[in-house]
Amino acid sequence: MQLPFKITFWRVLLAIVWLAGTYAVFVRFTEGLGAATNLSDKFPWGLWVGFDVVTGVGLAAGGFTIAGAVYVLHLKQFYPVLRPAILTAFLGYSLVIVGLLIDIGHPLRIYHPMLMGNAHSVMFEVAMCVTFYTSVLALEFSTVVFERMGWDRLRKWVSKIIVPLVIIGVILSFLHQSSLGSLYLIMPSKLYPLWYSPLLPAFFLISAISTGCAMVIFESHLSFRAFGHRLEKNILRHLGRVMLLGLVLYLILKVQDFTTRGVWDLTVLPRMETYVFWLEMFLGSIAPIILLSIKRIRLSTKGLYICSVLTIAGFLFNRLNVTITGIEASSGVSYVPSWMEISVSLAIVGMVVFLFALAVRYLPIFGNPLANVKKITPPANRMTPKHNADNITFDSGTATGRDVLSS
């Protein structure tokens, strides 16, 4: 029998992960959270909150970063990565919501925060922001679908409101990216002092922005390898610089924070927390800062790729340290996620990758979105950036800021 698709290693892996994940979700919804997870009264938040929600939202931060750069700051040179970034963010947030629905005890009451919100709750604020921001992302992404379907009037309608839309998206993102850190502000006695800090919201926001840039670099590389899309070298270099800026700012704040709180002595205690803390700092902060400071690495595609992987790994460690490792000591129990928890998280990651690949295949995500822009008369425009990458059309006066906005 002829299969409509080739069997590859990754596809087999995806199938296994999905099967396991589906089974785990089935168990969770028929027998309760206790049967599927290793959570307990002493440890109520585990991998599904720590990874699927807190980490997932952070990894999708590329969406607002790039959208803000392109539309608000008019940095048109980022346009070629705008669509993949928004797609990642949209898929990321959608799947965060799926993860949330699996994790909370009453998924059918997901609308409750809308009706009976408690303004004193950070969770309420995060819920509202995620809801609205996912809608914003859906609208931002809808232009791609409209373009593909040839629904020009709808596309133009969204284009008209795109600037306010993006501004709202940036505000919402600033609020909830930082608020994911604020979730833990109320637990000074529970979160280990290496991570508990009044600056948690700032740390979460800054690391989300640099990781958002890292994710765009990372997925540009993967799509390059998987689909052969051209690498926008110049853009990646710009992103590398923004990333470096974020990482340095983060490190400075961290040093300042540790000094004011006087917790440097904790960084040498022979404890589990210390080891993972240094792992996190080395991977996600120190190593990429050193590497990115070297010009040759910052300008090389491979160097940027390695730095983005390091930053993302450090980010993962940070979020899991705050949500899991940092809580263990005060909870008095040790928590290791069950295989069902892990398989659901992996299935969600697999779903994002799968949908991303599907979208890239059927929608105009990569490539040359400005090719169809009607050319306007004035040639040679000194405000438009010049690029080496031949995939970009902004050079030699084809499009100005206004055209990007209306396309």
């Binding site: 938040w45 608000v72 700051l73 997901i110 709750s121 969770m123 600037v163 109320i186 809580i327």
Partner: protein, 262 residues
Amino acid sequence: MRGRKALLIDTELCAGCNACVDACKEENNQPDVETTDLSSISYTAVIEKEGVYTRRLCMHCEYPTCVSVCPVGALEKTESGAVIYHYEKCIGCRYCMQACPYSVPTYEWNSTSPKVQKCTMCHARQKVGKIPACAEACPVEATIFGDRNELLKIARKRLSDDPTTYVNHIYGEHEAGGSSVLFASSVPFEKLGFPGNLPMEPLPNLTWDVLSKIPRFSVFFGAFLYGVWWVIDRRIELADNGTENNRFNQHLLDNEQKKEQV
């Protein structure tokens, strides 16, 4: 804090008879199983530590963390001082459990429509004028119920009457802004498993300091972003027009030159 009710628990008086646990279970229709810690079927537990008996139960904080963190307001601090739970609102996010400084709320982990479970300070009994079941059941008055201020006075008196026995600390008077359950003991509270690293200010303030700034921040940040967009947009527009005008002038100039040539 007018007329707020409270419980005072004295480990010096407690004999560990578990009468409070039994009464609690009966009052809340929970199965009578051996109880060593809080669970979704035990709102209280008697625990032996350092040679004394102490109780675990909801502290009914004056500024409850759980009430503050619940995104849907499923937890409520009542006038009487009890912190109670409204199941019909709860979405099961477990933030209350995660954030509670005493790790009190428990969850029905093996239910598909799980409830958060915790002591209600017998809110239903209090409404009909009765005192909480545990206080009523205690044969030696190790747990007593009354006005919070009255109980604090009693506790202070016990501490000052017998300073050699008691540690000079009423747990719950100031911890995290104070609670409606108070403890007096002869053993330092940290050794009994009470969190010793709690700030004395209400914990909800820590998030409210940040959350309360959000509306203003959003407005200013939005205005700022719009301003940035407008300034850059305008500059690009002017630059474009500039070149267009130059082109037009150039065009006129060229024409004139042509005419002259003709």
